[in-house]
Amino acid sequence: MTTVAQSEGRPTDTNFQADARRRKWRQAGLAYLYILPAALIMIFITFYPIGYQIYMSFTDFTIGNLRIDTATVLPTLLNPPEFLWLENYVRVITGDLALTNYSFVRILTFNLLWTFVNVFLHVAIGIAIAIALDTKDLPNKRLYRSLFVIPWALPSLVSGMIWANMWHDRFGGVNLLLQRLGLPGDTRWLLETQPFVDISIAGEPVLVLPLAFIAALVANVWLGWPFMMVIATGALQSIPREVYEAAEVDGASKWQQFWRITLPLIRPAMVPAVMIGIMLTFNQFNVIFFVTGGGPLGLTEILVTQGFKLVNPQNLFGVASAFNIIVFFILVVLTLITNRVSRATEPYYA
C-alpha cells in the first residue's frame, strides 16, 4: 500500500525530463527577459547599422538617400540607390578617390604602428609607475594617485584640443617651454610636411611618419597610461607580500622578482585591459582628429578619421561604408590574433 503510494508520488522518467526541460526554459526565459533591453538597444543602434552599412557599401548611396523622413520616404523607396557590387571596395583599396595623399596601405600600416606603439607605452609606463607607487613608506602616495588620473578623467576631446594648442608652432606650450629652456623652440610640430620616416615599396608609400606622429603619440600616451596604471595598481595589491619575502630569502634580486613574480601575477588582469586598449586605440578618433586633424597632407590620418571624413565633409556614403566595413573586419581579425597570442603564451590561466 505504502509502496504504491510512493511510486505514484514519484515522477516518472518522462515526467521528470519534461519538468527539467520546462524549468530550464523558464530560467532561460527569465534570462532573456533580463537581457532584452540591452539586446534591443544593441540590435537597433549597433547591429542594424552594421547591416545597413553593408547594404550601403554595395550601392552608390548619396546624400539624397539619407534624407528619409516620413514625408519623403515614398520617393526614396521608389528611387533606391544603384547597386554597384564591389566597386566601392575596389575604389577604397586601389585609392581611386579624390583625396589628397590617400593610400589605404599607408593608412593601415600607420594605424597598426600607432596602435602597438601606443599600447606598449601605455602598459610599460602604467606598470612602471604603479610599481613606483607601491614603494613602501612612500610619502604623498594618495596625492600622486589622485593627480595621476587627471589625464584619464579629462574628456578625450578636451585633452585632444589642449594638445593641439600645446604643439602650436608659435604659441604652443611645448615650444614656449623649449624656448624658456634655451632650446630651439620653433619646430613646426603639426605642420612640418617632411617626414622623418619614409618607406616605399615599388613606388607605393608603405610607412610615412611626419613630426605630427610624435605630437599625436605624446598626447595619446599622456592620456592613456593612467588607465593601465589603475589596472596594474589593483593587480599589484592582490599579490601577497609573503611571495616577495620568500623570494628574498631565496636570494632573488629585485629584477628577478619583477620578471618572475610581479609580471606573471599581474598578467591575468593586464591581458583583458591590453585587449580593450588595442581596440580603443585602434579606433581612437578624438586624439588624431583634434590634435593633428589627420594632417599634414593627410599623413597622420588613421582609418577611423579617414572614414569619418569620407562622410563629413566628402559625402561619399557608399565608399565610406565599404571603408568602414573593411576597417571593422581588420579590427576583428586583429582582435582574434591578439586574443590567440595572449592566450597561447599564457601558462597562468590554468
Binding site: P139, V230, N324
Partner: protein
C-alpha cells in the same frame, strides 16, 4: 666646559659617520644631511618670495604669482625640513640608518614621480594659466603659472556668451548633463540587468551573447553614422537629446555589462540562495540582495557612461541642428581650429576647464572603487 662639550659632540658625529661607513650607509646619511639643508633653504626662499616680493613690494609685476609660488615653496620646504630633522635625530642619536636608507629610496622614487607629475600637470597648468590671463591677447605670450593681473574675466565671458549662436551656457550645461546623465542611467539599468543574467543564469547562447557585446568596441565610431541618421529620422528622434542618449547608451553598454558581470561574479552566491529560501523569487533576490551590494560597481559603470555621453562629439555634431539642443563638446569644438581664428585662447581654456570639472570630480569621488572594481572586472572578465 662648552668647548669640551662641543668636541664631544663633534667626536660623536665623526663616530656616526664612521659607523655609517662600516655599515655601508654613508650615502643615505649624506643624502639626509644634504636634503635637510636644501629644505631649510627652500623654506626661506619661499618666505622671502612671499613676503618681500609678494606682500610688501608694490612695484613687482606679478605679486599674486609670487605669493602663491612662495606659499608652495614654504609648504614643501617646511614639510621636508621636519621630516629630515627627525631622520637626522634618528641617525645621530640612535644610529638609525635603516630609516634613512628607506627615506632615501622613497625620495629617489619621489623625484621620479615628481617628474611624471610635472609632465602630467604641464598641459593642465598651462590651460589654467591661459584661462586666467585677462590681457586682451588672443594668443598666449609666454609661460607663467599665474599670469600678471590674473582674473576670471575669460570665465565670465564664456559663461555669458559661450558661442556665436544664440544659446546660453546654462542651456548647454543642461543639455550635456541630460545626455550624459541619461547615458549613465541607461548604461547602469540596462547593463546591470543584462550582467545579472550573464553572471547568474545558464541559458543557450550565453557565451555568444557576451561576445556579441564586445563587437561594439570594434565598430569604427563613424560607421553607424549614416544608418542611425536614417533610423532616428524615421522615428523622429534625430535632432533630440533622447535619441543621442540612446545611441550613447549602446556605446557605453559593452563596458557596463563586462564590468557589472565581473562585479556580480565576485559577490557570494549564498546570499541570493538564502533570500530564495526565505521566499524571494529570482527578481526579488536581484533587487533586494544583489543591487545593494553592487553599488560600487554601478557607480563606476555610471561614471563611465557619464563620460561617454559628456564628451561624445561625432554623433552630436552630425545629428543636432538646433542651437538650443547643442552640447558643450560642440561649442568647445567651435572654439579651436578653422572655425575659431578669432576666439581668444583664454576663452577656449576657460571653457575646457569648465567642461573638465564634472568628470574630474566624479573621478576623485569614485577613485577608491575604481582601483578595486576595475581590477576585479578585469580578472574575472
Amino acid at each position: 666646559m662648552a668647548t669640551t662639550l662641543q668636541q664631544a659632540q663633534q667626536q660623536e658625529d665623526q663616530n656616526t659617520f664612521e659607523r655609517a661607513r662600516t655599515e655601508g650607509a654613508l650615502l643615505p646619511v649624506i643624502w639626509t644631511v644634504v636634503v635637510f639643508g636644501l629644505s631649510v633653504i627652500v623654506t626661506f626662499v619661499g618666505l622671502y618670495l612671499m613676503v618681500a616680493r609678494g606682500f610688501l613690494m608694490s612695484g613687482v609685476v606679478n605679486p599674486l604669482g609670487n605669493v602663491i609660488g612662495g606659499l608652495v615653496l614654504v609648504a614643501l620646504g617646511a614639510v621636508n625640513t621636519n621630516r629630515y630633522r627627525k631622520l637626522m635625530v634618528g641617525i645621530f642619536q640612535y644610529a638609525d640608518f635603516k630609516s634613512a636608507r628607506l627615506a632615501m629610496r622613497a625620495d629617489v622614487v619621489q623625484a621620479l614621480l615628481i617628474i611624471v607629475l610635472l609632465t602630467v600637470m604641464f598641459p593642465v597648468l598651462w590651460i589654467l594659466s591661459m584661462s586666467l590671463d585677462p590681457r586682451d591677447f588672443s594668443r598666449p605670450q609666454g609661460l607663467t603659472i599665474i599670469p600678471p593681473a590674473a582674473s576670471l574675466q575669460a570665465f565670465s565671458e564664456v559663461l555669458t556668451q559661450p558661442s556665436p549662436n544664440d544659446v546660453t551656457f546654462l542651456r548647454l550645461l543642461i543639455n550635456s548633463l541630460l545626455v550624459a546623465g541619461g547615458t549613465a542611467v541607461g548604461a547602469v539599468v540596462v547593463g546591470t540587468s543584462a550582467a545579472y543574467a550573464f553572471s547568474r543564469m545558464d541559458f543557450p547562447g550565453r557565451r555568444a551573447g557576451m561576445l556579441s557585446f564586445v563587437i561594439v568596441l570594434m565598430i569604427p565610431p563613424g560607421a553607424t553614422l549614416a544608418p542611425l541618421f536614417v533610423l532616428l529620422n524615421i522615428v523622429g528622434l534625430r535632432t533630440s537629446l533622447v535619441g543621442l542618449a540612446i545611441a550613447y547608451t549602446s556605446t557605453a553598454l559593452p563596458f557596463a555589462i563586462w564590468n557589472m558581470k565581473g562585479f556580480i561574479d565576485s559577490l557570494p552566491y549564498e546570499l541570493e540562495e538564502a533570500a530564495q529560501i526565505d521566499g524571494c523569487n529570482r527578481t526579488e533576490a536581484f533587487i533586494r540582495v544583489v543591487l545593494p551590494l553592487a553599488v560600487p560597481g554601478m557607480a563606476v559603470t555610471a561614471m563611465m557612461g557619464f563620460l561617454t555621453g559628456w564628451s561624445e562629439f561625432i554623433l552630436a555634431w552630425t545629428f543636432l541642428s538646433d542651437p538650443s539642443t547643442f552640447t558643450l563638446p560642440m561649442v568647445l569644438r567651435g572654439m579651436v581650429g578653422q572655425y575659431a581664428s578669432g576666439t581668444p585662447w583664454s576663452q577656449f581654456s576657460a571653457m575646457a576647464l569648465l567642461m573638465s570639472i564634472p568628470p574630474v570630480v566624479f573621478f576623485f569621488f569614485l577613485q577608491r572603487y575604481l582601483i578595486g572594481g576595475l581590477a576585479v572586472g578585469g580578472v574575472k572578465g
